[in-house]
Each structure stands twice: as structure tokens, then as C-alpha cells.
């Protein structure tokens, strides 16, 4: 990969630091996060490399990386970072930022899954697994994904055909409508 560096080299790192509350500049590339990452071998940019790309102001490359989507949010990286950087939080921040900017998600299936899951919770207050899986398969264009699992689960009584619904839908509606992409960290920094 060819990197272009300009004068404003810290711009993206500052942006991510502000949004995540994590200190990107503390990363000295030890590689511990990648060593323990369960999905490390499935991604092109390891967490270590992604941290470096942020430091090098590679906004497009980072926001289009598959790594934050394939991150399983296991937080092993955050737990082990010698500089106490919450690397998993950085991954989450990148993913949210890409979504906020309306970019095409780097891993469509993971994004479709989240969408189907949240649609289900938004309408009922509780997850309706069967409906969610059908929605996901339709969104994803993979109508028969997990098709062998569903009947087996139905037989075991582990899937219901009908959703459960909560009573206080007004509050739920407000939560979904007014939740921000990011917490406001301005005030916290001043303290």
C-alpha cells in the first residue's frame, strides 16, 4: 500500500481520539492486540496495522477496512494493551463513523445482520430470532443461509414463530429515534 502523508497528519487520529476517548498516539506497535485477536487471521489489516493507519492519517483506508466489521468485540485486545488503549472501542468507533457517513459497509453481511437485529428490537422491544433471520437472509440475498439449522431449532422448540412484544413502546421509540452515534465527550475532556 502506498501512503500519502500531508501536513495535517494528525487530523484523523485526533478525530478518532475525540470520538472514542482513546489515545491513538499511545500505540507503539507492539502487536499484542493482533497476537490475541481471534479474527486476526481472517482480516487483511490486523488491529495493530489499523492503529498505525489511523496514526498515518489514512482515513479512507481505515473507514473502508473490513477489520472493524469482522471484530467479534471480544475485547481481548483492550484487556491486554500495555498502553491501556481500548482497541475494541476504536474498532467500534470506526464502524460507527463509517455508518454515520453513509459509507458502503466494508462487510455487507455483518452490517445487514446488525440492521436486521435492530429492526426486530425496534418493532417489538425484544429480539424475534426467526423473523430476524428471515429479514437478514432477504437483505443479504442469501435466502437459504442457515436453512438447515432453523428446522432443527424449531424441532427442539428453540425458535418461536411469533414475536414477543413489550408494552412501553413509546420509550423504545424515543430511544431509537434520539440516540446519537457518539457520546458527547467534549465536557469530559475539559474536566
Amino acid at each position: 500500500m502506498q501512503l500519502k502523508l500531508d501536513n495535517n497528519v494528525n487530523q484523523f487520529a485526533n478525530e478518532i481520539e475525540h470520538l472514542s476517548g482513546c489515545s491513538i498516539s499511545d500505540c507503539y506497535q507492539c502487536g499484542k492486540c493482533s497476537a490475541g485477536c481471534p479474527v486476526g487471521e481472517f482480516v487483511e489489516e490486523s488491529p495493530t496495522r489499523l492503529m498505525r493507519l489511523i496514526q498515518l492519517n489514512q482515513r479512507q483506508a481505515v473507514l473502508n477496512s473490513k477489520t472493524p466489521y469482522l471484530c467479534a468485540t471480544c475485547t481481548t485486545c483492550s484487556e491486554r494493551c500495555p498502553m491501556k488503549i481500548d482497541v475494541a472501542k476504536v474498532m467500534e468507533t470506526i464502524r460507527i463513523l463509517a455508518c454515520k457517513e453513509g459509507l458502503r459497509p466494508a462487510v455487507k453481511a455483518v452490517s445487514n445482520f446488525s440492521g436486521a437485529f435492530l429492526d426486530s428490537v425496534k418493532s417489538n422491544g425484544r429480539l424475534f430470532e426467526f423473523g430476524m433471520t428471515v429479514t437478514f437472509n432477504l437483505k443479504n440475498g442469501t435466502p437459504f443461509k442457515n436453512a438447515t439449522i432453523a428446522p432443527a431449532m424449531l424441532l427442539k422448540g428453540k425458535l418461536s414463530f411469533l414475536p414477543q412484544s413489550i408494552k412501553n413502546k413509546e420509550r423504545l421509540k424515543n430511544i431509537f429515534a434520539n440516540s446519537s452515534y457518539f457520546e458527547d465527550r467534549e465536557e469530559k475532556k475539559e474536566h
Binding site: A72, T73, T76, L118, L127, I166, R171, S179, Y181
Partner: protein, 286 residues
């Protein structure tokens, strides 16, 4: 006194045997559970990876409901729900700004600080190991168990503050207490892939293969879990793992409450053992 109970979505569906066995165990021990009224989904991974505030608010709303109900603590048996509820409780406690926003989003202020417990913590610290020991009727008699904690029970340790994040022992202690033999193995806190099971199945199959390989090498006859995602990914996907990697794992993956129930003298039927894809019946005949 009744303890607050947050079952979460999984315990009403894919993890119904977790719910069944927990209720049977509590019934036997005389523990009263009071379900959080009108509880909603904790948001799990999709919420906090889509909008930061949504991930906190969905979980917070349950804490709010519980506090209004007069509950003082919440038992959240699902590791993912436990993680999210505890995270919300931590967030509002440590940031006045987040607290203010949560009050705005849900229209309510929590009346008291809500304590959230996972299942292992509940038996270790709340019900108490001595009390549990006194109630044992049929010890497991040296059953070799790989205690699998996964991610969400122990990490992030800063927020959860419950057991060692690299080498937790609470489930091992519990299994030993009920007569089982917790084996030494290397994947106690490795990730099963969690919610990637649906969108990125291949990742979950590979991670599962590693977990089974390690459990088998440790001499385990079964894996004990306290998380519906871990259970589904290892039990339901086990045949897919065998097919893909040409392996022959036949390892039951059971909830720790099912094992406690057996030690309390409850029957396999009362504990939902018929819900597993890889049956534990043969193993438990011994």
C-alpha cells in the same frame, strides 16, 4: 427477598434450557426471582456497534424499570446481557454526561444504583458456596468438565470486576463444589465468534474447532457454559464443524445451571437436557 431477574431474549428461545434449569435450581433452593417488568432487549452487539448511545440506552432502560419496581439487584444469566447491563450501569455511574443523556432518552432517573450479577457471581457471592454445598444430593462424581467462560463474562475486567480476565476460576470452583472435575485447558476465555454465527459462519466454525481441540486435549468430556451464544455456537454448530474439518467431536455443551441441577438431584427432564443437539445422555448414564 426476591432477586431481580433479567432473562433476556435468548433465554426465551434459543437458550430455553438455561431458563428452565435456572428456574428449577432456584425452585429447589428456595430462591425467589422477580422478573424485571416489561424488560426489553439489551441491544447485544448490534446496538453498541451501530450507535454508541443506543447500546447504553437499551440496557439502561432495563435498569430503570428494575429500579422503579423496587428491585435492588439483577441476576442476568446470559453473559451478553450481563455485560451490556453492567456496562450501562458503569457508564452512567462514571460519566455525568452519559447519565444525563440516558435520563433524556428514557425519560427517567434511576432511583438507586442497580447491582448486576452473572450466574457464577450469584452462586459464589449472593447465594453462597456453603449454602449450595449443603444442598447437594448427587455429586457429579468426577465428571471431566471444561469450564468455558468466553469473553463477555470476564471482559472488560475494568467494568465487570468479577474474575481474572485471563484465567478465571469461578466456574471451575463451582464445578468442583458440585463434585465435578474441572480440567486444565487453554481456551477458557477464547472467543467463540459470538454473533458472527449468522453473517460470518466460517469464522465461528474455525473458532469452535480450536475450542473443541483444546477441550479434548485437556481431557474434557463436556463443556460447561454460562452464555447462550457460546452454547449455540458450540452445540448447534458442532456437526458443521465436524463436517468442515473432518473431525469427530462429540462433546455435549451444557449450561452450568444444568450441572448444578443434576447435583441437587433434579432429573435431566426437569433441567432441559433434551434440548441439546449433542446429547449428554450417554455421558450422564455413568
Amino acid at each position: 427477598m426476591a432477586y431481580g431477574y433479567y432473562p433476556g431474549c435468548s433465554l426465551h428461545s434459543t437458550a430455553k434450557e438455561y431458563n428452565i434449569s435456572l428456574k428449577a435450581v432456584c425452585g429447589k433452593l428456595g430462591i425467589e426471582l422477580s422478573e424485571v417488568e416489561d424488560w426489553n432487549c439489551c441491544g447485544a452487539t448490534p446496538a453498541h456497534t451501530t450507535k454508541e448511545e443506543l447500546g447504553v440506552a437499551l440496557a439502561y432502560n432495563n435498569l430503570l424499570n428494575a429500579s422503579r419496581q423496587g428491585l435492588e439487584d439483577i441476576l442476568a444469566p446470559c453473559a451478553a446481557c450481563y455485560n451490556r447491563l453492567k456496562n450501562a450501569s458503569y457508564a452512567v455511574k462514571h460519566s455525568p454526561e452519559v447519565n444525563k443523556r440516558m435520563n433524556e432518552l428514557t425519560g427517567g432517573v434511576m432511583e438507586r444504583d442497580m447491582k448486576v450479577y452473572n450466574i457464577l457471581e450469584f452462586f459464589r457471592d449472593i447465594y453462597g458456596q456453603d449454602n449450595l454445598k449443603a444442598a447437594i444430593e448427587k455429586p457429579l462424581e468426577g465428571l471431566n468438565v471444561a469450564c468455558y467462560y468466553g469473553c463477555l463474562l470476564v471482559r472488560p475486567s475494568k467494568v465487570l470486576n468479577f474474575d481474572d480476565a485471563e484465567d478465571p476460576v469461578s466456574m471451575d470452583d463451582l464445578v468442583r463444589l458440585i463434585g465435578g472435575n474441572p480440567v486444565r485447558w487453554s481456551c477458557k476465555t477464547e472467543c467463540c465468534g459470538g454473533s458472527h454465527a449468522i453473517p460470518e459462519t466460517d469464522i465461528v466454525l474455525e473458532l469452535g474447532r480450536r475450542i473443541f481441540t483444546s477441550a479434548q486435549a485437556g481431557g474434557a468430556e463436556m463443556i460447561a457454559v454460562a452464555c447462550p451464544l457460546c452454547q449455540a455456537n458450540l452445540d448447534m454448530r458442532q456437526s458443521q464443524i465436524n463436517k468442515k474439518f473432518n473431525t469427530d467431536f462429540r462433546m455435549p455443551v451444557v449450561y452450568v445451571t444444568q450441572l448444578i441441577g443434576l447435583a441437587l438431584g433434579l432429573s435431566k427432564e426437569e433441567l432441559g437436557f433434551n434440548s441439546h443437539f449433542v446429547s449428554a445422555a450417554e455421558l450422564l448414564k455413568k
